[in-house]
């Protein structure tokens, strides 16, 4: 175990796999522009390359390289930049295996930060997870801790399918204990971050620490919240969530996205269908206000879910 920031843990995951498997590539904009670059120095310019600002070609090239047997990791920096190449992400990469009747596989990782809610304003602050989670053939990963950042990245690289790996910008420097040596975190297994019996709180990314902080505040009032972090939303470990609902009968779902673009709506709908009997209260979502993200600090803070809103939602479902 070593303490390291989330961002270093992501890199550790990439290193682990690049050392192990010569077919892993790592490329994207504004990396590896000198020979001293950590990855270029370690793995050479065959496997580590800087690209132009051409997301469509970058992701398209990753797809072709994957079909030809390599395992590309594309550095995208910000999830929004995938929008200019959305066809490659949702209508190319995840389709080829299927349309070819299983002849090809397309193992690649699209690594992108998201949720830059510290003044990045209207076009760089989105939480786009829901755009990807429902696409058959695509996997979607959202680490919220340094350990998961490493282990989920390694698993993403070994996975034989296209994976969207979304790391949260506000967690970049969060320190965490990270297992040394080979470390893999399985897909489709939610983590119960805090056990509790009164209410189930589900959150992803930056909303996980906010949910945990809210649980801490609630504990002082004698309310015991179970906080679940799905870690991967495709595949989604509904089982762990439903098991918790069976126990608590009450659910609050927290998402940094706007309500009708949220992952939580998908989960809420699944709970409403599969746990009608177990529910003792409405399934409540705490999501961003329905707006483009404003630049000005107090306005930005106003529209993003915070501990107070999570606490209030939990109190409401307990009434």
């Amino acid at each position: 175990m070593a303490k390291m920031p989330y961002v270093a843990a992501i890199d550790a995951g990439i290193h682990q796999e690049m050392r192990r498997d010569p077919d892993v590539l790592y490329f994207g904009q504004n990396l590896a522009t000198t020979e001293n670059h950590e990855f270029v120095a370690a793995y050479g310019a065959d496997r580590v390359r800087v690209t132009p600002i051409s997301e469509t070609a970058e992701i398209g090239i990753a797809i072709g390289a994957a079909m030809a047997g390599l395992r590309p990791v594309v550095e995208l920096y910000m999830a929004e930049f995938m929008l200019v190449a959305m066809d490659q992400v949702v209508n190319e990469a995840p389709r080829f295996r299927y349309m070819s009747g299983g002849q090809v596989k397309v193992p690649l990782v699209l690594k992108a930060g998201y949720g830059f809610t510290c003044g990045w304003a209207g076009q760089h602050t989105g939480s786009l997870t829901a755009l990807f989670m429902g696409v058959p053939g695509l996997k979607v990963v959202i680490p919220s801790t340094a350990a998961d950042a490493k282990g989920l990245m390694a698993t993403a690289i070994r996975d034989d399918n296209p994976v969207v790996y979304l790391h949260h910008y506000m967690l970049t420097l969060e320190q965490g204990e990270v297992p040394d040596g080979e470390y893999l975190v399985p897909f489709g297994k939610a983590e119960v971050r805090r056990a509790g019996g009164d209410v189930t709180v589900v959150a992803t990314g930056w909303m996980v620490p906010r949910a945990l902080a809210a649980a801490e505040m609630l504990a002082k009032e004698g309310i015991s919240a179970e906080v679940i972090d799905p870690r991967t939303v495709a595949p989604l470990d509904l089982e762990t969530i439903l098991k918790s609902v069976d126990k608590t009968g009450r659910v609050v779902l927290v998402d940094q996205a706007t309500r009708h673009a949220s992952v939580t709506a998908m989960i809420a709908a699944d709970i409403a269908e599969h746990r009608f009997k177990a529910l003792k209260a409405p399934v409540v979502q705490v999501t961003a206000a329905d707006t483009t993200i404003p630049y000005s600090e107090p306005l930005e803070a106003h529209v993003i879910p915070d501990e107070a809103r999570i606490v209030a939602a939990v109190r409401a479902v307990l009434m």
Binding site: I61, G64, E92, G102
Partner: protein, 342 residues
């Protein structure tokens, strides 16, 4: 670079492949009349482009790869795919090349180096560059061929990819089949170069890449031009844009007809939309298949009798493909849920 022309045997092989593509496409087209309802969705034929396809793929070696678009029936035939499995795919059957999951627009035959086809215009061009990156770092002198239409050069993906391929000297050849039309739009109506009377190969100039134009109805000219580009690529000198000028002899596709309207192939849009029957008839006079046959007979490479024999052998082959495909069962419905994930 200079390339030996193909020997007689190879030319006969080329002719045979051209006839196979043409005959296959004729059988696809006839299916709409003979067996209505058997082909669904949107189907795009390669008739008119046979010389370009075969001339390009004559240089294919073990380990090379080709990628194309929805207009994809020609390439796998030239690469050795089984026309029975291809027709079964187009008919949506269990014995289809892609198990009935892909259909006409998505023929794929990885064993023969035909890696994938995208139905989204321009989207497959970077895939070819990606496969070329793999070839580059594996250092076995392999090359990738990327086939797409003139219209595709209006997608950003085309330019983004050409820039990277040139910058990285990837072993890829971009073969633009310029058939003068994007569906019902002429190149001059949608392309500033064409409107200015320039060849589309000029687009290579934006990316420090050689751009050449070739008569895509002449298989030997294509053999030469694409062959040189392939040699360059194999030698590590980077990509080339080849504009191969062809004319499609059928309509763009079997009509984007909403449910209720029977699918069929009307005449080429030059006639149905623009009323330019002469343009179409001139193209027909230049039809690459009879023209190459004529040249081979004239040069003594083939006798008329031998040419006829090839045609009738191919006719039986494609009749068998149709029969096989018609008799192939539909896939089991559960198979619809397979293959989303590896």
């Amino acid at each position: 670079m200079s390339l030996q022309p193909p020997n007689a045997e190879r030319q006969i092989w080329m002719f045979t492949q051209m006839v196979r593509i043409r005959t296959f496409e004729e059988r696809v087209k006839r299916t709409f009349i003979d067996h209505p309802g058997v082909i669904r969705g949107h189907t795009h034929l390669a008739d008119g482009a046979e010389a370009s396809i075969v001339g390009s793929l004559s240089h294919f070696r073990e380990g090379d790869a080709a990628l194309a678009t929805y207009r994809c029936h020609g390439y796998p035939l030239a690469l050795g795919s089984d026309p029975k499995a291809m027709m079964a795919e187009i008919y949506g059957r269990a014995d289809g090349l892609c198990k009935g999951l892909g259909g006409s627009m998505h023929l794929t035959d990885v064993k023969r180096g035909f890696l994938g086809t995208s139905g989204i215009v321009g989207a497959g061009i970077p895939h070819a560059a990606g496969a070329a990156w793999s070839a580059q770092i594996r250092r076995k002198g392999n090359v990738v061929l990327s086939f797409f239409g003139d219209g595709a050069s209006k997608q950003g993906a085309f330019h983004e990819t050409l820039n990277i391929a040139s910058l990285w000297k990837l072993p890829v050849v971009f073969v633009m089949e310029n058939n003068g039309y994007n569906v019902v739009t002429t190149t001059a109506q949608e392309d500033a170069s064409a409107a200015a009377g320039e060849p589309l190969a000029v687009k290579a100039k934006a990316h420090a890449m050689p751009g050449v134009t070739v008569d895509g109805t002449d298989p030997l000219a294509v053999y030469q031009t694409v062959g040189e580009a392939i040699e360059r690529a194999r030698a590590g000198q980077g990509p080339t844009l080849v504009e191969s000028k062809v004319y499609r002899l059928s309509a763009h596709g079997n009509i984007i007809a909403p449910p209720g309207v029977p699918l069929h192939y009307p005449e080429h849009e030059a006639i149905t939309v623009f009323g330019k029957r002469e343009e179409y008839e001139a193209a027909l006079r230049g039809d690459p298949v009879p023209r190459f046959r004529g040249a081979l007979v004239q040069n003594g490479i083939l006798t008329a009798a031998k040419a006829d024999e090839i045609s009738s052998r191919v006719a039986s082959e494609m009749q068998e493909a149709v029969t096989f495909a018609l008799n192939s069962p539909f896939p089991k419905v559960e198979s619809a849920l397979k293959y989303n994930f590896a």
